[in-house]
Amino acid sequence: MALSTHPLMPPSNRPISRVAIRKMENYNGDLCSIVEETLREFDLSVAGKSVLLKPNLVLGDPESVMNTHPALIRAVRETFLRLGAKRVLIGEGPAHERDTEAILEAIRLRDWLGPSEGAFVDLNVDNVHKVALRTRASKLRSLFLPAAVLEADLVVSMPKMKTHHLAGVTLSLKNLFGIVPGSCYGWPKNVLHWAGIENSILDLATTVRPDFAVVDGIVAMEGNGPIQGSPKHAGVLIFGDDPVAVDATATRVMGLAPERVGYLKKAGYVLGHVQVEKIQQIGEPITAVRSSFKVLEQFRELIEQQGTQETVSYS
């Protein structure tokens, strides 16, 4: 079962986390080499394991500005197989499209993957099991979750780096909304909004803590994300086995302050590191890849160095 047994503890009791930042200009480069080289830097026990990759697939978007790019999904899948994984599934329960096949077709996922019958699991319609949530931040006490998630030995969250019009940013923790099955809770998983987005993210993340995270920040999204924002070339991939530290690092790369993102701040109390001094950076330093992501006016307070980034207003 992939239910987390990761201890919930304050930052002072937790060892330093490691996060890798890699530059990658576009999706045509040698993604497999860079992914494999980076994964080998982490102490991941993969051999013989079943791995579930959880990309962020939102709507049929051929340009993959709102979706994790299929080239990266392929590279990560191939790498885990090369590292000895018994099986690597790709699972997603899109929140804004009931016809999951329409998304797979639009992004040509099968063309990218090559022969891979049965590699994709629609988490919206998988068998479910009732799971008690480990924390009680939201008013949710339990959720039905997909068997494919619960039966995986390793869950890898693969978000697109995006601003989010309700949560500020959406990265590896917010990406977990996609494991909540639409067949039980509808689309776009509205029960989580009503339970409080930030607290729902926390409850989900403490219960199904991703074992690893790979953030697609090559072409990201800024402004009115997660669907109607604008493409933002950030040219980075971010990796790590502490999803909170990965998200905190990605937020800093976006020019935003993770301590001011409500759910990240809370996750930093129990699940992983947000503080920069508790995160050992591998690869590029943040300063070498930092961008200035536009945020909606109401998220102006997230901007790390006030006055250096634009906000976006909509009528």
């Binding site: 709507l59 049929g60 804004h96 499209e97 009931r98 016809d99 999951t100 096949e101 329409a102 998304i103 797979l104 077709e105 639009a106 099968r110 019958e117 994709f120 629609d122 319609v125 998988d126 068998n127 479910v128 009732k130 039905f144 019009h165 309700l166 067949s183 039980c184 809770y185 509808g186 689309w187 776009p188 509205n190 029960v191 909004h193 009503w194 009115n224 669907i227 109607q228 909606l296 109401q298 909509y314 009528s315």
Partner: protein, 325 residues
């Protein structure tokens, strides 16, 4: 016949044959995928769930309903109805949800003997179930909110996916279609007011360029992205107003985008909706055959059922009957 590869080949053959019907090919696959308990899961071998079982029954309702598979499935469906008349998404999830009107529609389509009370209870539950929008805290939050994320009229209530949350287009459309099928409700003022507000909700949530997204026509002033499947449901629910300008605009949007519909479920729903509003049926057999051969039905019972429903001639419970209000 039950193996997907055989089904793909047969679909392809049906597409190329003047006499062949893709529905004739899909039906045996569906029947062989029925679980021993009488229900269907979302995939062959998966635990039985209300949505695929209701859709399988809708698909089978268009042909011979006097078969043991239908009887067993009807029994399974009736067996997991809650005492308050609602249906959960699966027996183990318990809480009544958006699938209540869909299950009711399946029973209406089958004219299932002994199911009259179940249908009536489902209709009452549907009329009495409410979203969370009526809660005083929501009114207060809307009044005080400095952020206006969406431009729609939040006072309009349709139906939600799960009780106590927001209204969305698809559950509202399914509830409206179900209630429209029940003449016995015509004298109920509650049913009438819910239907009227449900229709107003759908029109309010239409994208400005035609068609519907899940439920937000504009977010921060930017137009929502209309989707074929959702648009099909809304057009089915509003088909008695087919001459209205909004219906015409959305029908035109669906027709204009028909050739680019990538998923088989959306394709089947779009065809059902376009036929229901009087458009000439468009052949989709060959497109479906290609999609199936490429593994694009995702081995999904729901999709196979929707394809059968779209292709099979026969009485169609999703169609509005003109002599009803």
């Amino acid at each position: 016949m039950g193996h997907p590869a055989v089904l793909a080949a047969s679909l392809n053959s049906a597409a190329n044959s003047a006499d062949g019907s893709a529905a004739d090919v899909c039906r045996p696959f569906l029947l062989q995928s029925q679980n021993p308990d009488g229900g269907w899961g979302y995939h062959p071998g998966a635990s039985s769930a209300v949505e695929p079982t209701a859709w399988a029954l809708l698909a089978l309702s268009k042909s011979d309903t006097e078969i043991p598979e239908v009887e067993r499935a009807t029994g399974w469906l009736l067996g997991c109805q809650n005492r308050d008349g609602s249906w959960p998404s699966r027996p183990e999830t318990l809480d009544g949800c958006w699938l209540t009107p869909l299950a009711g529609l399946a029973l209406v389509a089958l004219k299932a003997r002994g199911a009259e009370t179940a249908v009536r209870n489902a209709a009452e539950w549907t009329c009495q179930s409410h979203t969370g929008q009526r809660h005083w805290k929501m009114w207060l939050a809307r009044f005080l909110s400095r952020r206006r994320v969406v431009a729609q009229d939040l006072s309009l209530e349709g139906w939600s996916w799960t009780l106590g949350t927001s209204s969305w287009v698809e559950p509202t459309a399914i509830a409206l279609i179900f209630l429209q099928q029940l003449p016995s409700l015509e004298k109920s003022s509650n049913a009438l007011s819910r239907r009227q507000m449900g229709e107003s909700f759908l029109y309010d949530r239409m994208c400005p360029g035609g068609g519907w997204s899940m439920g937000n026509p504009k977010i921060y002033g930017i137009e929502g992205i209309a989707q074929a499947g959702v648009t099909a449901w809304a057009l089915l629910a509003l088909q008695k107003n087919r001459q209205r300008e909004e219906n015409q605009r959305s029908t035109a949007w669906l027709e204009a985008n028909f050739d680019s519909i990538a998923g088989p479920s959306s394709l089947a729903l779009a065809r059902i909706a376009l036929e229901a509003v009087g458009r000439i049926p468009v052949s989709i057999e060959s497109r479906l055959a290609i999609q199936f051969a490429a593994g694009k039905f995702l081995n999904n019972i729901l999709t196979v059922s929707q394809v059968i429903f779209a292709l099979e001639p026969g009485p169609d419970v999703l169609r509005w009957i003109p002599d009803r209000p």
